[in-house]
C-alpha cells in the first residue's frame, strides 16, 4: 500500500487495515515520514510486548531521538499480536522505508468504532501543512 492508501492518527501514526481469515480487522501501525523527518536523529524505539491490550489515544511505546523522547500512541483499541523486533536494531529502516519495513506493531482490533476518528491521506496532509507553518 502507498502512503495515499493508509489512514492516519492526529498524532502521526499511520495505520494499514487488513482483515484476517476469521474476519477480524488487523491494524499495522507505523510513524509517518513527516513525523520521522520532524524528529530526526532517532536512537531508540521502545515497543510493547505481544499480548498487551492497547487503547486508542494511549501510549503504546516510545521513540527516542537525541533531543527528546516522544510517545507512540495507539491509533486503535485492541491487542498487540506482533512486534517488529528487527526495527529496534535497525532504526535506519525508519528513514529508508517508513511505510513497509518500518512498521512498529500489529494490533488485533477489538472495537472498530474508533476507526472513524482516523484521517485519510488528504486530511492528514492538511494537518502536516498546518504544523509546518507553525514552526519556522
Amino acid at each position: 500500500m502507498t502512503p495515499e492508501e493508509l489512514l492516519y492518527s492526529r498524532t502521526h501514526e499511520w495505520v494499514r487495515l487488513e482483515t484476517d481469515p476469521t474476519g477480524t480487522k488487523i491494524a499495522t501501525v507505523g510513524l509517518s515520514a513527516f513525523a520521522l523527518q520532524q524528529l530526526t536523529d532517532l536512537v531508540y524505539v521502545d515497543l510493547p510486548e505481544v499480548g498487551r491490550q492497547v487503547t486508542a489515544g494511549e501510549p503504546l511505546g516510545e521513540i527516542e531521538s537525541v533531543k527528546a523522547v516522544s510517545d507512540l500512541f495507539s491509533p486503535v483499541d485492541g491487542e498487540i499480536i506482533e512486534v517488529n523486533t528487527e526495527l529496534t536494531r535497525r532504526l535506519d529502516t525508519l528513514g529508508s522505508d517508513p511505510y513497509q519495513a518500518g512498521w512498529f506493531v500489529k494490533i488485533k482490533i477489538s472495537d472498530e468504532s474508533g476507526l472513524a476518528d482516523l484521517l485519510d491521506y488528504a486530511a492528514y496532509q492538511k494537518q502536516c501543512e498546518a504544523e509546518s507553518t507553525d514552526t519556522r
Partner: protein
C-alpha cells in the same frame, strides 16, 4: 505563533540560519538554530573535522577603567588580577550564600591605545542577572575614589561570536587572521586583524577556548560584518568538511566533554564544591560575595557531588535515555537527580550527569535511573566521557 515571539532577539546571522534550514527555537530570549540537518551529523563533524556555531547570544560585558582589576577580583571566585595579557580564565560568580549565579570566561586585553580592558563572557540566560549584579556592586560614580573608576559596557548586541570547534579549526581559521594560531595556547587569545575584505578592515578577538572538548576557537567580530565573515568561513571550510552546528550538537558535545551547563548542573542552589569546581574558587585572595560562605562550606563534608553516568541498555541497541529531572535510585531509594542526559553520538549509548551523595560517586557503582516510571540500569563513570583533540602547545 504567539505575539510574544516577536520580542525574541535576532543574532546578526538569523536570516542565514533560516535560509539554511535552521530549526529556530527560543533560547534564553533569542531565536537560535537548534539544528540544521541532523544533530548527530553536526556533532560528528565537530569531532572529526570542524563545526561552526553562532554563539552571538552569549553575553559579553566589557569591564574597564583603573579600578577594573580590583573590581573583578572582588566579584569573581577566581583570581583575575594576575591574568597575563591575552589570557583567558574560567570563573564563577557566586551569591552571598556561595550559590552559583553564573559561570563565566574572563579575558584580559589591551586596546590599540594600550589601555587595558576585560571581557567577561556570561551565559545568555544570565545576562540580565549578571549585569544587574555588576551594577549593584559597582561603586556609585559619586562615591568612587579618583583612580578607581570602573565602566561596564554590555557589548552583546554589538559583537557576534562564532564557536569554531574541531581538529581542523586551526587549518580553517589561520588564513583569515594575522596572528599565528599554531602557537596560541589553550585559554589564550589575541586581538586580530581579519584578512578578508568582508571584514571591512574591522578586527576581532579570537581565543583558543570552547565548549565541546575539541580544539577550537571562539571568534568575536563586529555585528555589521559578521554575516560576511561567517560566509567566508563556510566557503574556506568546505574542503575541510565544515558543518554549521546548532544548539542541539552544542549540548551533546559539551555533555560528552563533561562540562557543566547553567540551568542543568549549575544553579543558585548548587555550590562550586558540589559541582566539582573547587579549582575555580580562590578563597585566600580578594573578598568576593560568597567567599566566607564558601570557606565554611569547604570545611563541611559534601552532601552531594556531580557524577557521570552511562546507561547500560540492551545489547545491539542504545536503550532508553535518562534526561534532566529523572530520579537516580540505589537500593530502592531515591538518591539524586539527573541534570543533563542524552544519547552520546561518540560513545553510541545514553550518558548523563547528575548529583548523588559522595558514597555513590565511585566509578563503577551500579545505580538505576527512573525513566518515566521504569527503572533502567546505569553505571557511574569518570568525567569527562570523552577527551578531544589536543588544544594548542603546552607551556
Amino acid at each position: 505563533m504567539p505575539l510574544t515571539d516577536l520580542n525574541l532577539l535576532h543574532t546578526p546571522l538569523y536570516d542565514w540560519h533560516v535560509a539554511h534550514g535552521g530549526r529556530m527555537v527560543d533560547f534564553a530570549g533569542w531565536w537560535m538554530p537548534q539544528q540544521y540537518t541532523s544533530i548527530i551529523e553536526e556533532h560528528v563533524a565537530s569531532r572529526t573535522a570542524v563545526g561552526i556555531a553562532d554563539i552571538s547570544h552569549m553575553g559579553r560585558l566589557r569591564i574597564e577603567g583603573p579600578g577594573a582589576a580590583v573590581f573583578l577580583a572582588e566579584l569573581l571566585t577566581r583570581r583575575v588580577a594576575d591574568l597575563a595579557l591575552d589570557q583567558v580564565r574560567y570563573s564563577l560568580v557566586t551569591n552571598e550564600q556561595g550559590g552559583i549565579l553564573d559561570d563565566v570566561l574572563v579575558g584580559y586585553y589591551h586596546n590599540s591605545h594600550g589601555q587595558p580592558f576585560y571581557v567577561v563572557v556570561v551565559n545568555a540566560v544570565n545576562r540580565r542577572k549578571i549585569i544587574d549584579w555588576v551594577h549593584a556592586h559597582l561603586p556609585t560614580e559619586r562615591a568612587e575614589a579618583p583612580g578607581e573608576e570602573v565602566i561596564c559596557t554590555d557589548l552583546t548586541r554589538l559583537w557576534a561570536m562564532f564557536a569554531i570547534q574541531g581538529p581542523r579549526s586551526v587549518e580553517l581559521v589561520q588564513p583569515l587572521v594575522d596572528v599565528d594560531l599554531h602557537s596560541m595556547r589553550y585559554y589564550n587569545g589575541a586581538q586580530v586583524g581579519i584578512l578578508h575584505p568582508a571584514a571591512q578592515r574591522q578586527g576581532g578577538i579570537i581565543t583558543r577556548t570552547g565548549y565541546t572538548g575539541e580544539d577550537g576557537f571562539e571568534l568575536s567580530v563586529g555585528a555589521t560584518v559578521a554575516l560576511g565573515i561567517w560566509e567566508v568561513l563556510m566557503e574556506l571550510g568546505r574542503p575541510l568538511g565544515i558543518v554549521s552546528t546548532g544548539l542541539g550538537a552544542r549540548d551533546t558535545l559539551r555533555l560528552e566533554a563533561g562540562m557543566p551547563l547553567y540551568g542543568h548542573e549549575l544553579s543558585e542552589d548548587i555550590n562550586p564544591f558540589q559541582a566539582g569546581l573547587d579549582y575555580a574558587c580562590y578563597l585566600v585572595g580578594y573578598d568576593f560575595p560568597g567567599r566566607d560562605a564558601l570557606k565554611a562550606l569547604q570545611q563541611q563534608p559534601l552532601d552531594k557531588t556531580r557524577i557521570g553516568l552511562e546507561l547500560v541498555g540492551q545489547p545491539g541497541t542504545s536503550g532508553r535515555v535518562g534526561r534532566q529531572g529523572c530520579r537516580i535510585i540505589a537500593d530502592g531509594r531515591v538518591i539524586g537527580q539527573i541534570t543533563s542526559g542524552s544519547y552520546s553520538p561518540t560513545l553510541k549509548r545514553p550518558i548523563a550527569m547528575g548529583y548523588v551523595p559522595p558514597h555513590f560517586a565511585q566509578p563503577g557503582t551500579e545505580l538505576q535511573i527512573d525513566i518515566r516510571g521504569r527503572l533502567e540500569p546505569a553505571r557511574v563513570v569518570k568525567l569527562p566521557f570523552y577527551r578531544g583533540s589536543k588544544k594548542g602547545p603546552r607551556t
